[in-house]
Point group: C2
Chain length 132, copies 2
Protein backbone atom coordinates (compact mmCIF):
# COMPACT_ATOMS: atom_id res chain seq x y z
CA UNK A 1 0.00 0.00 0.00
CA UNK A 2 1.60 3.25 -1.05
CA UNK A 3 1.43 6.60 0.68
CA UNK A 4 -1.75 8.59 0.14
CA UNK A 5 -1.38 11.58 -2.18
CA UNK A 6 -2.81 13.87 0.48
CA UNK A 7 -2.96 13.58 4.26
CA UNK A 8 -5.50 15.43 6.38
CA UNK A 9 -4.37 15.60 9.99
CA UNK A 10 -7.32 16.29 12.30
CA UNK A 11 -6.62 17.43 15.85
CA UNK A 12 -8.78 15.36 18.18
CA UNK A 13 -7.51 17.09 21.33
CA UNK A 14 -9.05 20.53 20.70
CA UNK A 15 -11.49 21.51 23.45
CA UNK A 16 -14.39 23.73 22.48
CA UNK A 17 -16.44 25.36 25.23
CA UNK A 18 -20.16 24.95 24.94
CA UNK A 19 -22.26 28.06 24.52
CA UNK A 20 -23.40 27.82 28.13
CA UNK A 21 -19.75 27.92 29.32
CA UNK A 22 -20.41 24.99 31.64
CA UNK A 23 -18.43 22.31 29.83
CA UNK A 24 -16.47 21.57 26.68
CA UNK A 25 -16.65 19.04 23.90
CA UNK A 26 -13.90 17.70 21.64
CA UNK A 27 -15.32 18.17 18.15
CA UNK A 28 -12.25 16.85 16.32
CA UNK A 29 -13.45 13.26 16.72
CA UNK A 30 -16.75 14.05 15.00
CA UNK A 31 -14.96 16.03 12.29
CA UNK A 32 -12.52 13.20 11.53
CA UNK A 33 -15.34 10.64 11.40
CA UNK A 34 -17.45 12.77 9.11
CA UNK A 35 -14.54 13.41 6.75
CA UNK A 36 -13.77 9.68 6.57
CA UNK A 37 -17.39 8.95 5.74
CA UNK A 38 -17.52 11.57 3.01
CA UNK A 39 -14.23 10.46 1.46
CA UNK A 40 -15.35 6.83 1.33
CA UNK A 41 -18.22 7.99 -0.84
CA UNK A 42 -15.84 9.60 -3.32
CA UNK A 43 -14.47 7.16 -5.88
CA UNK A 44 -10.79 7.50 -6.68
CA UNK A 45 -10.04 9.44 -3.54
CA UNK A 46 -6.45 9.10 -2.44
CA UNK A 47 -6.72 11.00 0.81
CA UNK A 48 -5.80 9.70 4.25
CA UNK A 49 -7.43 11.08 7.40
CA UNK A 50 -5.15 10.88 10.44
CA UNK A 51 -6.24 11.69 14.00
CA UNK A 52 -3.61 13.71 15.84
CA UNK A 53 -3.22 14.38 19.53
CA UNK A 54 -2.70 18.14 19.46
CA UNK A 55 -1.65 20.34 16.59
CA UNK A 56 -0.89 23.01 19.24
CA UNK A 57 -3.54 25.46 18.03
CA UNK A 58 -5.64 25.02 21.16
CA UNK A 59 -7.30 28.44 21.00
CA UNK A 60 -8.92 27.85 17.60
CA UNK A 61 -10.82 24.50 17.59
CA UNK A 62 -11.28 22.51 15.42
CA UNK A 63 -7.95 22.47 13.67
CA UNK A 64 -6.61 20.39 10.79
CA UNK A 65 -3.56 20.34 8.56
CA UNK A 66 -3.38 19.48 4.86
CA UNK A 67 -0.13 17.91 3.68
CA UNK A 68 1.13 16.24 0.52
CA UNK A 69 4.41 15.37 -1.15
CA UNK A 70 5.93 18.44 -2.78
CA UNK A 71 3.16 20.68 -1.45
CA UNK A 72 2.92 23.47 1.10
CA UNK A 73 1.39 22.28 4.37
CA UNK A 74 -1.58 24.38 5.54
CA UNK A 75 -2.84 24.53 9.12
CA UNK A 76 -6.47 25.68 9.35
CA UNK A 77 -8.40 26.47 12.52
CA UNK A 78 -11.88 27.62 13.61
CA UNK A 79 -13.57 24.72 11.84
CA UNK A 80 -16.94 23.35 12.91
CA UNK A 81 -17.94 19.74 12.20
CA UNK A 82 -21.57 20.88 12.14
CA UNK A 83 -21.16 23.32 9.25
CA UNK A 84 -17.81 23.11 7.49
CA UNK A 85 -17.49 19.52 6.24
CA UNK A 86 -18.52 20.32 2.68
CA UNK A 87 -16.15 23.26 2.56
CA UNK A 88 -13.32 21.11 3.89
CA UNK A 89 -14.00 18.40 1.30
CA UNK A 90 -13.96 21.02 -1.47
CA UNK A 91 -10.68 22.44 -0.16
CA UNK A 92 -9.11 18.98 0.08
CA UNK A 93 -10.03 18.35 -3.57
CA UNK A 94 -8.50 21.68 -4.63
CA UNK A 95 -5.41 20.98 -2.53
CA UNK A 96 -4.99 17.52 -4.08
CA UNK A 97 -5.42 18.92 -7.59
CA UNK A 98 -2.97 21.77 -7.04
CA UNK A 99 0.64 21.49 -8.08
CA UNK A 100 2.16 22.87 -4.89
CA UNK A 101 -0.64 22.89 -2.33
CA UNK A 102 -1.50 26.56 -2.79
CA UNK A 103 -5.23 26.83 -3.49
CA UNK A 104 -6.24 29.78 -5.65
CA UNK A 105 -8.06 32.39 -3.56
CA UNK A 106 -11.26 32.14 -5.60
CA UNK A 107 -11.37 28.39 -4.89
CA UNK A 108 -10.90 28.76 -1.15
CA UNK A 109 -14.07 28.28 0.88
CA UNK A 110 -14.81 31.03 3.43
CA UNK A 111 -13.65 28.89 6.35
CA UNK A 112 -10.29 28.41 4.66
CA UNK A 113 -9.93 32.09 3.84
CA UNK A 114 -10.49 33.04 7.47
CA UNK A 115 -8.96 30.08 9.23
CA UNK A 116 -5.34 29.91 8.08
CA UNK A 117 -3.12 29.51 11.16
CA UNK A 118 0.17 28.90 9.35
CA UNK A 119 1.65 27.38 6.21
CA UNK A 120 5.00 25.70 5.65
CA UNK A 121 6.63 25.08 2.29
CA UNK A 122 7.76 21.65 1.10
CA UNK A 123 11.33 20.89 2.09
CA UNK A 124 13.88 21.46 -0.64
CA UNK A 125 14.96 18.07 -1.91
CA UNK A 126 18.51 19.04 -2.70
CA UNK A 127 19.17 21.92 -0.38
CA UNK A 128 22.82 22.78 0.00
CA UNK A 129 23.71 22.39 3.67
CA UNK A 130 25.55 25.14 5.50
CA UNK A 131 29.19 24.10 5.49
CA UNK A 132 31.36 24.63 8.55
Amino acid sequence: MSESAVTVFVCVSCRRWRADGEAFDQPGHALASELRLRLREMSGSDVGIVDVDCLAVCTRPCTLALAGTGKWTYVIGDLEPESHVEEIIAAVKSFAASENGIIAWRERPPSFRKGVVARVPPRPSRLEPVEP
Copy 2:
Protein backbone atom coordinates in the same frame (compact mmCIF):
# COMPACT_ATOMS: atom_id res chain seq x y z
CA MET B 1 24.62 17.29 -2.35
CA SER B 2 22.05 15.55 -0.20
CA GLU B 3 19.15 17.04 1.67
CA SER B 4 20.00 18.73 4.97
CA ALA B 5 18.94 16.82 8.06
CA VAL B 6 17.01 19.83 9.32
CA THR B 7 15.49 22.79 7.51
CA VAL B 8 14.77 26.11 9.22
CA PHE B 9 12.26 28.12 7.21
CA VAL B 10 12.46 31.81 8.15
CA CYS B 11 9.61 34.09 7.12
CA VAL B 12 11.12 37.21 5.55
CA SER B 13 7.74 38.83 4.89
CA CYS B 14 6.73 39.47 8.52
CA ARG B 15 6.23 43.17 9.23
CA ARG B 16 6.95 44.38 12.73
CA TRP B 17 5.80 47.85 13.74
CA ARG B 18 8.40 50.01 15.36
CA ALA B 19 7.83 51.14 18.94
CA ASP B 20 6.90 54.64 17.73
CA GLY B 21 4.14 53.16 15.53
CA GLU B 22 5.33 55.28 12.59
CA ALA B 23 6.76 52.55 10.39
CA PHE B 24 7.59 48.86 10.25
CA ASP B 25 10.66 46.78 9.61
CA GLN B 26 10.98 43.23 8.27
CA PRO B 27 13.18 41.52 10.84
CA GLY B 28 13.10 38.08 9.17
CA HIS B 29 15.93 39.06 6.84
CA ALA B 30 18.20 39.91 9.78
CA LEU B 31 17.17 36.76 11.61
CA ALA B 32 17.92 34.50 8.63
CA SER B 33 21.31 36.17 8.07
CA GLU B 34 22.28 35.85 11.71
CA LEU B 35 21.25 32.19 11.84
CA ARG B 36 23.31 31.44 8.71
CA LEU B 37 26.32 33.14 10.25
CA ARG B 38 26.01 31.21 13.50
CA LEU B 39 25.53 27.89 11.75
CA ARG B 40 28.60 28.40 9.59
CA GLU B 41 30.59 28.63 12.79
CA MET B 42 29.32 25.25 13.97
CA SER B 43 31.32 22.36 12.61
CA GLY B 44 29.32 19.38 11.41
CA SER B 45 26.11 21.34 11.17
CA ASP B 46 23.66 19.83 8.70
CA VAL B 47 21.03 22.53 8.86
CA GLY B 48 19.69 24.51 5.93
CA ILE B 49 18.24 28.00 6.38
CA VAL B 50 15.57 28.83 3.80
CA ASP B 51 13.99 32.28 3.38
CA VAL B 52 10.23 32.03 2.86
CA ASP B 53 7.81 34.61 1.56
CA CYS B 54 5.10 34.33 4.19
CA LEU B 55 4.42 31.52 6.63
CA ALA B 56 0.97 33.12 7.13
CA VAL B 57 1.53 34.01 10.79
CA CYS B 58 1.56 37.73 10.10
CA THR B 59 0.40 38.80 13.58
CA ARG B 60 3.39 37.22 15.38
CA PRO B 61 6.68 38.36 13.74
CA CYS B 62 9.28 36.94 13.40
CA THR B 63 8.17 33.45 12.54
CA LEU B 64 10.11 30.34 11.59
CA ALA B 65 9.41 26.65 11.07
CA LEU B 66 11.63 23.70 11.94
CA ALA B 67 11.29 20.64 9.70
CA GLY B 68 13.15 17.38 9.21
CA THR B 69 12.57 13.95 7.71
CA GLY B 70 10.44 11.83 10.03
CA LYS B 71 10.01 14.70 12.49
CA TRP B 72 7.12 16.86 13.61
CA THR B 73 7.24 20.31 12.00
CA TYR B 74 7.06 23.18 14.51
CA VAL B 75 5.99 26.74 13.66
CA ILE B 76 7.28 29.29 16.17
CA GLY B 77 6.38 32.99 16.31
CA ASP B 78 7.18 36.11 18.36
CA LEU B 79 10.92 35.77 17.74
CA GLU B 80 13.29 38.73 17.86
CA PRO B 81 16.55 38.71 15.89
CA GLU B 82 18.00 41.06 18.51
CA SER B 83 17.55 38.69 21.45
CA HIS B 84 16.55 35.15 20.45
CA VAL B 85 19.28 33.90 18.11
CA GLU B 86 21.09 31.87 20.78
CA GLU B 87 17.82 30.33 21.92
CA ILE B 88 16.92 29.44 18.36
CA ILE B 89 20.32 27.83 17.76
CA ALA B 90 19.91 25.78 20.95
CA ALA B 91 16.43 24.68 19.88
CA VAL B 92 17.63 23.76 16.40
CA LYS B 93 20.33 21.56 17.95
CA SER B 94 17.78 19.87 20.22
CA PHE B 95 15.40 19.43 17.29
CA ALA B 96 18.13 17.88 15.13
CA ALA B 97 19.16 15.53 17.94
CA SER B 98 15.60 14.43 18.69
CA GLU B 99 14.14 11.30 17.22
CA ASN B 100 10.82 12.78 16.14
CA GLY B 101 11.23 16.56 16.38
CA ILE B 102 9.59 16.86 19.78
CA ILE B 103 11.95 18.77 22.08
CA ALA B 104 11.68 17.87 25.76
CA TRP B 105 10.06 20.71 27.69
CA ARG B 106 13.08 21.24 29.92
CA GLU B 107 15.24 21.73 26.81
CA ARG B 108 12.94 24.28 25.23
CA PRO B 109 14.16 27.87 25.50
CA PRO B 110 11.59 30.36 26.82
CA SER B 111 10.89 31.77 23.38
CA PHE B 112 10.02 28.27 22.13
CA ARG B 113 7.81 27.54 25.12
CA LYS B 114 5.80 30.70 24.51
CA GLY B 115 5.98 30.94 20.76
CA VAL B 116 4.47 27.72 19.39
CA VAL B 117 1.96 28.62 16.68
CA ALA B 118 1.27 25.08 15.44
CA ARG B 119 2.89 21.70 14.95
CA VAL B 120 2.26 19.05 12.31
CA PRO B 121 3.31 15.40 12.52
CA PRO B 122 5.43 13.68 9.89
CA ARG B 123 3.35 12.09 7.17
CA PRO B 124 2.78 8.38 7.57
CA SER B 125 4.95 6.61 5.03
CA ARG B 126 2.59 3.72 4.44
CA LEU B 127 -0.78 5.18 5.29
CA GLU B 128 -3.67 3.11 4.05
CA PRO B 129 -5.72 5.30 1.75
CA VAL B 130 -9.47 5.56 2.12
CA GLU B 131 -10.92 3.18 -0.41
CA PRO B 132 -14.00 4.13 -2.38
